[in-house]
Amino acid sequence: MKKLMSIFLLLAASCVAAADVAVVVSADNASAVSTDDLKRIFLGKQKKYSGGDSIELILQNASNTLDGEFNEKVLSRSPKQMKAYWSKLIFTGKGSEPKRVAGDADVVAAIAASPNAIGYVEPASVNDSVKVVATF
């Protein structure tokens, strides 16, 4: 029984670790996006898909738990480090902060409306209008 319990716990833990944040693009977006690309894309450094289309970033509000999780897992930075990062770009005139929305539903809606948008949601929020390119 104890053994069974530990296997169950192990499974549960691996499920949690496997897919908490899903990076999504429009279902019509045919561009290949690698994990290496994602870091550059979400730091605003890569602005075009491999096919040449302009990337439209959709971030979630910095107070959302998912935003923190995405920053830690994909960008290896805390939300406050990201806040400082964008501030530096905004106030020096080197860049502008991407659009931020309230939650998963808004991300999915924004991506459904714009074929070049990319964002992140909880896996449970994924529907037919979007395509998962990576999970973390």
Binding site: A84, F91, T92
Partner: protein, 388 residues
Amino acid sequence: MIKKMLSLVLLGCAIATSTALAEIKVNGFASFTAGMTLDEPDAVAAAERLNNIYDYGYTDELTVDNESLFGIQVTADLMDGLSVTAQALSQGVNDYDTELFATYLTYEVNENWRINAGRMPWALFQFTDYLNVGYAYPWISGPRGMYGFVPDITIDGVVAIYNTYVGDWDLTFQPYTDLNSIFGLKSTATYDWITLNAVFVGESSNVFPVPLFDAASESLREAGFEQQAEDVRARNDRGRFFSLGYNIDYNDWIAIGEYAQINFVDASFYSDMKNYFFTFGRRVNDLTFHVTYDVQNEDPQLDFKEGLPPGQLVNVGGNMLPISVLEGIFRGGSQEYRNITLGVRYDFHPSAALKVDFVRNKTDDGDEVIGIKEAEQDFLRFSVQLVY
């Protein structure tokens, strides 16, 4: 103060609504800083004679207005890569009067190139173009020895920003000019946890004319010392600024440093400067502990003495005086400032931080005329800094 800040917010809203057709972004930053010296009033008075701009304007009573500031930035996206940005700033030292700090047009040419034209924050050294945004760095303000003599400054002209990457390194080249006399290039290389900066600025113009030395120069020329006359003359002089910096943030360890050299060519009155600072820090959850050592070292240029007889007379303020008097004036501007800062930053909110900095300033005066060779002063400062 509140009234003036309110008017600043209203200004932001007015800009936002008047351009309702374009997409508008409003961002801002603020620092509410209080500070005081920890010395007895007498010691303060003595040190003040030496310290001038390096004492933050503090006395032995807690003061809130010297470093507090409030900024708002509005960007209107005009489509097709074109946008307009205006940044308004109100500072406690100016009685919170709102000034338009920067206004510029941005054109994103393509993925790599971005051109800004207008009045922009000037990327002179590593932190110069965001010194007002305290939230973005660990200290309450930029290290004094490095940034004390160049506060938040702007440049009127054109800045091109070129982004590219080689392997895992992101590279940014930022050439800029005021279309007249200033040419600069800031280069940045970033690899995940480390950023390296190099800046070179050449300035050739009538930047800092000092008419006082025209007569001195003329009297040397009349005495037949052509080269020495030119050294003394403080007109049409060229400045050269050069800096190397690094910024490391690795596994919650922080190391930031910069070395800068400022040289004036063909000019004796302006001291050459060597400024540098080192910061080490450690982040523990929401707290960041840091220690900084910074130095501003001024080196008087006394080239003009070469080839002159020791008793040579020179016109100083209308009187023919020995050359040693002129030398004394030139030496008078040369001081060395050293600061040690112990600080802690507490990120109590996703976009706001509370900071406490203890600063010990030491000043060595190269001029024996004043009589004080060294002065020491301690400061305690508190700040709440935020961005939105």
